[in-house]
């Protein structure tokens, strides 16, 4: 399993994140929005079928979060911590390798 490109940010934010007011409201931690696990917004979740994937990268290009990154073989990996379940990836997938299914509670 590939690592998220934001792994270092997530580790750093967990250690250094603070809500203290800074002079000039400057934010010193780049990419610190990773502290928000927006995956809880989701109603439908994307289900990935690797056998149908042709690695066209369209889901990777279109994901607005981005909650899709690539593994060593360039297959998409879905980051369910952040995926908001918009379904753009499933709608644009040319081979229907991504299907939206209802989130299990």
């Amino acid at each position: 399993m590939a690592e998220s490109p934001f792994k270092a940010d997530i580790e750093r934010v967990e250690k250094e994140y603070s809500e203290k007011m800074t002079p000039g409201a400057i934010v010193y931690l780049p990419g610190s929005s990773v502290i928000n696990k927006t995956g809880s917004w989701r109603v439908f979740m994307p289900e990935f079928h690797k056998d149908k994937c042709v690695r066209c990268y369209l889901c990777y290009v279109y994901c607005p979060e981005p909650a899709i990154y690539l593994d060593e073989e360039n297959y998409p990996v879905f980051d369910y911590d952040y995926c908001k379940g918009c379904g753009v990836c499933a709608n644009e997938c040319p081979t229907k390798a991504i299907v939206m299914v209802r989130e299990k509670k």
Partner: protein
């Protein structure tokens, strides 16, 4: 099976966890814009991180930088609605003095660019600063609750242009800021859309590589303000190109006689003369684009309004020197 390389860099400058709505088209645009910029900076200066961003207030500013966190992984400054271009000019002047190599990206929404920030934008273009201005055009003030802007297209519902017995919604044609920017005779002005992301990336890279000011206007879907289904965000943007609503063009050095027009796709027949596009026959009707969006729902009760809209589309293409036939 041979595996192609990813079409775009895997470096990330736009982190997840930002507060944009699910299916936000503008978030796609900003993600791709930063990646394209980093690729261009690597090719031009050998440093993929040689850029900074000045962003006007707007949807994407509000969702990406809620204190105390930020979604940006690049030096970024928030400025007021009207002065993203002015702040970018200042950064450019400072970089020149300090001898930094790189380019500044100024970002504004359609309200921050077409209405409030146009004076600062015009000044920046005229002073020839080394800045790319990216206007993400979601066709209303979505951040404050869907009020009309001068970039709102004809017939659209917004909270300040409500359709009803005496109104058909927004009743004036859209303002094309890319054409206004091109009239400054700047090296590069273009329109793009998230419906054709590879064209958008290509244009952003080209804009980032020119010496001097450049302007890119990108069409992005707003599922909240357009009342459209979340998963159709990219499909709607693509339909806008394929039905003729959104032209993809590039104007270099303000040369309005040699506008480069990209083929819209969707089965449209493009007629060229000497390498120049002179006529386009669209095969997909405008209604296909309109029916996916709640903001145009009322137009289907007033078919004459759709006719007016088609006339306006033809007039807009005429400005670009293209005769169009709409089904």
């Amino acid at each position: 099976m041979a595996v192609r390389k990813p079409p775009i860099t895997t470096r990330e400058y736009w982190a997840p966890g930002h507060a944009a709505c699910a299916g936000c088209g503008c978030a796609i645009a900003l993600k791709l814009a930063t990646k394209a910029f980093s690729e261009a900076m690597e090719e031009k200066y050998g440093d993929p991180n040689a850029f900074a961003i000045a962003q006007a207030t707007g949807c994407m500013e509000v969702v990406s930088a809620v204190f105390p966190y930020t979604a940006w992984k690049v030096p970024w400054v928030h400025v007021a609605f009207e002065n993203a271009a002015a702040a970018a000019s200042g950064i450019d002047a400072a970089w020149k003095k300090l001898g930094y190599k790189g380019k500044i990206l100024a970002i504004g929404g359609d309200g921050g660019t077409a209405d409030i920030g146009i004076q600062a934008l015009s000044g920046m273009l005229e002073r020839w600063h080394n800045v790319v201005y990216l206007m993400y055009d979601n066709e209303a003030y979505m951040n404050t609750g869907i009020q009309r802007s001068s970039s709102t297209p004809y017939g659209a519902w917004t909270t300040t242009s409500p359709p009803g017995k005496y109104s058909i919604g927004e009743d004036k044609p859209k303002k094309w800021v890319a054409l206004i920017a091109a009239a400054h005779q700047i090296p590069y002005a273009a329109t793009a859309s998230i419906g054709n992301p590879f064209d958008f990336v290509k244009k952003m890279k080209k804009a980032a590589k020119v010496d001097g000011p450049a302007f890119v206007q990108v069409h992005c879907t707003c599922p909240t303000g357009w009342k459209s289904p979340l998963e159709k965000s990219v499909e709607i943007a693509r339909l806008a190109i394929e039905t003729g609503i959104w032209p993809l063009f590039e104007i270099e050095n303000g040369d309005f006689h040699n506008i480069k027009i990209q083929s819209p796709g969707g089965g449209a027949k493009v007629k060229r003369e000497g390498g120049k596009v002179v006529a386009i026959e669209f095969k997909k009707p405008v209604e296909e684009y309109l029916k996916l969006q709640g903001r145009f729902k009322h137009l289907f009760k007033q078919p004459e309004a759709i006719q007016v809209m088609k006339e306006q589309i033809k007039a807009m293409w005429k400005v670009l020197g293209v005769d169009v036939i709409l089904p």
